[in-house]
């Protein structure tokens, strides 16, 4: 006698126990600490912070550990945590012009005020597996300069507020070109502003309007640019990469140059009503990318460059560059371009499909039980087939 399937509750408990054991892995190998993940898997931590929309490297590292290295799962853990947090207030806009940059490059000028600073980049590494890293206790094997972030303005023996790095042990400067700032975070001029002085680039007038927040209000289309940028900043790196790539290959081409890419710490300031002025409440590391794009001009306007913009938590430059290309592609209407039907120009397509937590949830939910829907389809298909067969060959049908 068939008995209806029971035991979902026990199965779930057993699955959770097994998952915990699988996460821990071989107990002969020491457990990963959150501090190790934070320090040595920093780019994974950055991605989780960016897509989780929460700047907290420790929690992001914890999420990566709990998620067994599945970064979308880790992002989801961070999002679910973030959504419960109270909103105490809004910071002042970040002044990325006063960034304490570890990296700052421009592809449009060979040299420029502020200099070209390579920083800790993979760009010119040879992608050869470094088998020395397989050795345990690798510090002896590792090359002499400790992999600490280079303190900016190092020429004048700076000591960062957080690091006790002795000036003598500062790593070799990756600096190229002019513009050693010295002192604490002098402003680094923006490439776009340099172009703007000659009116060569379309201006971005500052505004006081409070930006919308898609985590508090449902997204409504068409979305204004601040909302689009928020959605892109939270969006999946892989999705944005492919969208941006598609524009480069001709689907909504915008001829982008990286006007400027900068990575570093920026002060977060907040107005305290009781004080009546803004105080610094901390710093966040961000990657900012501004592209310079061609624009032919029109009958009413002379030719001018246009801009795309990307700003992402942490050192996440692939995402920031991709974001700025997609941002630029989505601006076709306001910049008076023609719609070419390219996916990256279609804001509903881009914005509704960029979120990997939403996407993975809906994608994976098809593994949940669908007995009922499937049964209804099965019944319909059987009936339609029976009717069709009876009609095609009534004699054979009758004979059966």
């Amino acid at each position: 006698m068939y008995v209806a399937v029971k035991g979902g509750e026990r199965a779930i408990d057993a699955a959770h126990d097994w998952l915990a054991q699988a996460r821990r892995g071989d107990r002969a190998v020491p457990e990963l600490s959150v501090a190790q993940i934070r320090g040595q898997m920093a780019l994974a931590v950055n991605r989780v912070m960016a897509e989780g929309s929460l700047y907290d490297p420790d929690l992001a590292a914890l999420a990566i550990k709990q998620a067994r290295g599945d970064l979308i799962e880790a992002t989801f853990l961070i999002r679910a945590y973030r959504t419960t947090l109270p909103r105490l207030g809004a910071s002042l806009p970040l002044d990325t012009g006063r960034m304490d940059a570890i990296r700052r490059i421009s592809a449009t000028f060979k040299d420029l005020p502020g200099g070209q600073v390579l920083g800790p980049t993979f760009d010119y590494t040879h992608r050869l597996l470094d088998f020395a890293l397989m050795a345990e206790g690798g510090d002896a094997v590792a090359p002499p300069p400790a992999p600490v972030p280079s303190p900016r303005g190092g020429g004048e023996a700076p000591v960062t507020a957080t690091g006790a790095t002795d000036a003598d042990e500062a790593p070799p400067s990756p600096l190229v070109g002019e513009g050693w700032g010295g002192g604490a975070c002098p402003p680094i001029p923006r490439v776009a502003e340099i172009l703007n002085r000659d009116g060569l680039i379309q201006p971005e007038p500052p505004g006081d309007a409070a930006p919308p927040d898609l985590t508090r209000e449902p997204m409504e289309l068409p979305a204004p640019r601040p909302l689009r940028l928020q959605a892109l900043a939270r969006g999946d790196e892989g999705f944005l990469l492919s969208m941006a790539y598609s524009t480069q290959r001709g689907f909504g081409r915008t001829h982008a140059f990286v006007g400027e890419l900068r990575i570093g710490d920026v002060a977060v300031e907040m107005e305290i009503p009781e004080l009546g002025f803004a105080v610094e409440i901390g710093t966040v590391e961000v990657t900012e990318c501004e592209t310079v794009n061609q624009f032919a001009g029109s009958r009413t306007e002379p030719a001018q460059f246009t801009r795309g913009y990307g700003l992402v938590f942490g050192q996440t430059e692939r995402k920031a560059i991709a974001m700025s290309l997609v941002d630029r592609a989505l601006r076709w209407e306001e910049l008076g371009e023609d719609a070419t039907g390219a996916p990256a120009q279609d804001q509903e397509f881009v914005l509704m499909h960029a979120d990997n937590v939403q996407a993975t949830g809906f994608l994976e939910h098809i593994k949940l039980p669908h007995y009922v829907d499937f049964q209804s389809e099965t019944e319909l298909v059987r009936r339609l087939r029976a009717e069709a067969l009876a009609e095609a060959d009534p004699v054979a049908e009758a004979a059966q």
């Binding site: 679910a80 949940l368 669908h370 019944e379 339609l384 069709a388």
Partner: protein, 340 residues
């Protein structure tokens, strides 16, 4: 189960609940209209019922008794998981008995046992937009609803008949609410569609990922879309439940061996277990009266008195049309295809 004090009652903070309740009130005021709401990330994935969970969380009070079903069953893994979530975060009483529940969260089914006034049925909704697979753009479909421009849907149903001889939608069968909005009833089998109409319970539909809530207030007239010569027919697998013998409940097909063996059992586990416990051997007497089955063209004021006293067979019979067998519109479509 006692409530986990680390979380607010039913997990969501009060301002979020207020936001959701406002959306629910608007949805109740405009039946069938999809109200945008600022859906939150929940501690279970999108696609697992986050919309339903948020609606349930916004409706729950400490005195409520919650039932959670998935595919009609109380013991499917996701139903177990959601029930536990509310036990943990709200400490409320739970039940598997449809009649004892004040709030029922469901995925893909309406319970066989008729609901009563005061109960709330919360549906988990994947895609709330009935026009989505005809027009992928939200900006377009919102305009179509505003203009009551449902021609595309009727063309789709007509093409089904031309191609297959019948409307080839087995679940998530579109309905029209009080003669105004075309609504997706979530992926319930069309067998369940008649229960949507004039239901004494409040029916709330939550789509978390898509950020929409829609609703059917109690005793709302809901008509499944059809044509005069191809009337809507609720359908299910023929036969009776192998466990309780019910010939009127919706059946799941269970594969029993790898030799083609199969059997059919009730998808509604509570309904089935209660019948087994009551020792119901044969079907007809114990089956609950079916919900009134609206026919085309009727609005809220249905001639339900006659229908609700009739047996299920009579209900289907009153719709009265034999299965379309390539007659009428179907013939043309099939003939063309055969000739080609």
């Amino acid at each position: 189960m006692t409530r986990d004090p680390a979380y607010n009652f039913a997990y969501l903070d009060e301002s979020t609940k207020r936001m959701i309740r406002r959306a629910i009130l608007k949805a109740v005021a405009v039946p069938g209209y999809q109200v945008p709401f600022a859906s939150r990330e929940m501690p279970m994935p999108y696609g697992w019922g986050t919309g339903g969970v948020q609606v349930t969380a916004a409706c729950l009070t400490p005195d409520d008794t919650l039932k959670v079903i998935d595919q009609g069953a109380d013991d499917t893994t996701n139903a177990v998981s959601i029930r536990r979530f509310f036990q943990r975060t709200a400490g409320i009483a739970t039940t598997t008995a449809t009649a004892e529940a004040t709030i029922i969260q469901t995925r893909h089914r309406i319970p066989e046992t008729p609901l009563r006034e005061g109960q709330i049925l919360v549906y988990q909704v994947p895609i709330p937009e009935p026009l989505r697979f005809l027009e992928p753009r939200e900006t377009e479909t919102r305009t179509m609803h505003a203009l009551e421009d449902y021609g595309l849907m009727h063309v789709k149903l007509y093409e089904d008949i031309a191609r297959h001889g019948a409307i080839a939608t087995a679940y998530a069968y579109p309905v029209r609410v009080e003669g105004r909005y075309v609504m997706d009833p979530s992926p319930i089998p069309r067998f369940d569609n008649p229960k949507l109409s004039m239901n004494p319970a409040l029916q709330l539909f939550g789509a978390g990922r898509e950020q929409r809530i829609h609703a059917l207030p109690p005793y709302t007239g809901v008509v499944s879309l059809d044509f005069e010569d191809h009337p809507f027919e609720p359908s299910k697998a023929p036969g009776a439940c192998a466990l309780c013998g019910s010939g009127t409940s919706y059946l799941d097909e269970v594969v029993t061996d790898d030799d083609g063996g199969r059997m059919f059992v009730c998808s509604d586990t509570d309904f089935c277990a209660a019948r087994v416990a009551a020792g119901a051997a044969d079907d007809s007497g114990a089956a609950p009266p079916p919900h009134p089955s609206p026919t085309r063209g009727e609005g809220g004021a249905l001639g339900e008195a006659g229908a609700s006293t009739a047996g299920p067979g009579a209900t289907a019979g009153s719709l009265a049309s034999p299965l379309p067998r390539g007659e009428g519109m179907g013939v043309g479509g099939l003939a063309v295809e055969d000739g080609a």
